[in-house]
Amino acid sequence: MTQQQLQHLYWRAGFGMHPKSNTIISKQRTSVVEVLFESSKAFTPLHIDLSYLDGIKPVDLKSFPELAREINQKGTKKILEFNIAWVKRLVNPSELLRERMTLFWANHFVCRERNPLYAERYNNTLRYFALGDFRDFVKAISKEAAMLKYLNGKQNRKAKPNENFARELMELFTLGEGQYSEKDIKECARAFTGYSHDFEGDFVYKENRHDNNSKLFFNSIGNYDGDDIIDIILKNKQCAAFISDKIYRHFVNPKPNKKHIAAMADVFFKDYNIENLMRFVFLSDWFYDDDNIGSKIKSPIEYLVGMANTVPVVFEKEKDLIKIQKLLGQTLLNPPNVAGWKGDKAWIDANTIMIRLKLPSVILNNSVIDSGQNDQFKKKFMQKYKGKLPFKTLPNWTAFLENFETVATGDLQDYILQGTINKGTADYLKTLSKMSKREYCVQLMSLPEYQMC
């Protein structure tokens, strides 16, 4: 594999790489890809300290409204804490590909949960199944407390079915819009009646709320429950095609290629094994086509985590990590709606592009982007006014210099940027002094090209 192909793989299966990344032992495509899967075999759940909930029972919350309020407020803080823990996990993952897939699934099985216990469980379910069996994955999601709350599954009862989950299950999670009738949704909702959860977040099936009559779903009749419905949905190859299309647009190229997606769907339909599907993608020749390299606009999280991979940085106030996510338009655990973030061009508008261009200099270089004009004065000035910057950070440029030791400053653009550089910009880069690897790195990170991966 060429350096560029290796970087391409690591931008899609992870969050970029630097020349000293020590996970890479071979340059054979099969062994490089195998390393990715091997090192993600393990499952390390993400936990924060939720001991404040120990010993609390539902009846306590009912009897002591003040305690309930306190628990609620604490919960809001804990969600932020979990967000930060997640971002830190992405920067320093124990299982890189698993984390990358978890992030992807979080924007597929979209859910917003304000109870930190349920939110943590849900997040770890995404992580556990991230490379596993899609069938078990969908069934597990349908029984998660967070999802039962978010799409009103626990309010779905025999006497009064609630269609919210049934609709999104088919529209967003498995088949795509227009692949079912309104009648199918009603019947599907009936099959999921009786699903609920207890205070701890464990799934509870309430027999007396379940509709035990037969349902007519996708032209077959039976006394189906939720798992049966999911099995019937997965019999339709459209499900494999729908997921393949989404994975292609996320991991390969936002512009879909019908032939490649059909090939993926063939692989996925065999056993609905996510790991096999991803291996097929990363081993395909087409994955490394020039058209695919640098074709994707980084999501705010890809952008932020990728930057921290190049120049390690510590935020003095960890809450600033949340502020930045908000500014860039993607706060983890807080999706805009059940369809999730639209991605690609939708990340960028006049507001976010300016923030993205400016942010690397703000968090890594006291807001200075060397422009070759009178910068000594500006640098001194900004050094003095460091405290006035919106974020207080400790960038580790020493680590950067060590990691990029083998790279000549003049070649840095090949490592920091993915894909084509605009001709005029490339000419301008040639005119820059490149006296300092650090300044040149910030200059490269402050370009529209840096938004691509």
């Binding site: 338009g329 592009i353 400016k358 004009q373 691509m452």
Partner: protein, 395 residues
């Protein structure tokens, strides 16, 4: 050449000589005015329950369908049949003054009950079986816009409604931040070298284009917005802040034809009453302050406010004291000199519902758009609203 002279010349060079033609063209048309009528959109995201907003207080079908959810107390009765939810009391004055027109049963054929799809339909003005990549206001900008700031969304990101096929509005939560980022000299150098050959269709071309537009719009908004604070007291919430920003832009005379604001959280599948009471009160309080602010500055007469939601909710309540996704809903139009204020039409029958138990639409939302375009904005709806639409008489 000494250093000072060199700097001066290079600065001059980069601002005049090296600036590509399209950037110059961009700056040049800045002052051309588009006319002074302005449109403010308020989007109630999540599907507001119209039946508990404008309440059929004399209709047994309503009370029977909602044994626990029907509003029974403090309804602000507006006529024998319909009344405001108690939270809408701040809008009573507008209603009485003939500055509010309520259009009932607004929707479209073969309604979709998915938030995203239905919101896309409302924002793109498409049919339910048609997928459009551009928004109706975006297509208005395609034809009549000159600058991204001709349409401003007060948000961190731009809605599909504001994205045209060739031209986008601008989204900003804080125009000062935008301005400060845009003025960095490094960006100026990068843009002065940019050439757009072969890139316009590519994602990278889109990034550069957006960067150029951001820079010129940030300058314009910053330089032309009057910073003196409003004398009006707004409620303390995020939606009120959006409208306060809009009032500041309008009262500063910015060359902006369209403003887009949004209030979310209306997806009330469970325990609807508390939530909707709070949201409607945020909505009504903020809009009322906004209108007074405009009146104080004599800009209300040139402003039209359109409030919509992607769908209404099912007539029957569900078991969780909430409502599921429905179809037709009411739309509010607020402005001076409305042709037909009050109730534009009657509420559709609550006995003649569709197969899902939802209200049947009587007015196509696209005819409201078409009417606003021709009678308020003074342009033809051709090429903006896909199919020929009936003209309504509310303005």
């Amino acid at each position: 050449m000494d250093r000072r002279k060199f700097l001066k010349n290079s600065a001059l060079a980069s601002s005049l000589f090296f600036v590509p033609d399209f950037v110059k063209a961009f700056e040049a048309v800045a002052s051309e005015r588009l006319g002074y009528k302005r449109l403010v959109i308020v989007q109630l995201a999540g599907g507001n329950d119209g039946l508990n907003t404008i309440i059929p207080h004399n209709n047994d079908l309503y009370y029977n369908a909602r044994p626990k959810l029907a509003i029974t107390k403090d309804i602000i009765k507006l006529n024998d049949d319909l009344g405001f939810h108690p939270s809408l009391s701040p809008l009573r004055g507008l209603f009485d003054n003939g500055e509010l027109s309520i259009i009932n049963n607004v929707g479209y054929p073969n309604p979709v009950r998915s938030h995203f799809r239905s919101m896309d339909i409302w924002q793109t003005a498409s049919s339910s079986d048609e997928y459009l990549q551009s928004g109706w206001l975006g297509r208005y900008l395609d034809q009549y816009g000159k600058q991204p700031y001709n349409a401003i969304e007060i948000d961190e990101k731009l809605s599909l409604a504001m994205k045209g096929d060739h031209f986008n509005g601008i989204a900003t939560n804080d125009f000062r931040v935008l301005y400060n980022s845009a003025k960095d000299p490094y960006f100026k150098s990068v843009l002065s070298h940019y050439n757009d050959t072969h890139l316009s269709e590519h994602n990278l071309g889109y990034l550069y284009q957006t960067m150029i537009e951001a820079k010129s719009s940030a300058n314009y908004i910053f330089e032309n917005t009057d910073v003196k604070t409003s004398q009006e007291t707004y409620p303390q919430n995020a939606f009120a802040k959006q409208l306060k920003n809009v009032a500041q832009f309008i009262n500063s005379g910015l060359d902006t034809k369209v403003f887009y604001t949004s209030l979310g959280g209306f997806d009330t599948h469970a325990n609807q009453n508390n939530k909707q009471t709070k949201l409607l009160s945020e909505y009504a309080g903020s809009v009322s302050a906004f209108v007074s602010d405009l009146k104080r500055n004599d800009t209300f007469k040139d402003t039209l406010i359109l409030t919509f939601s992607e769908f209404g909710r099912r007539v029957k309540q569900n078991a969780a004291n909430g409502t599921d996704h429905g179809t037709a809903n009411n739309v509010f139009v607020i402005g001076k000199n409305l042709k037909k204020a009050g109730f534009y039409n009657n509420l559709a029958s609550l006995s003649d519902l569709d197969a899902n138990g939802d209200i049947k639409y009587t007015t196509d939302f696209r005819s409201i758009y078409a009417t606003i375009l021709s009678k308020w904005m003074g342009v033809s709806a051709d090429g903006i609203i896909p199919n020929k639409q009936e003209q309504l008489n509310f303005i």
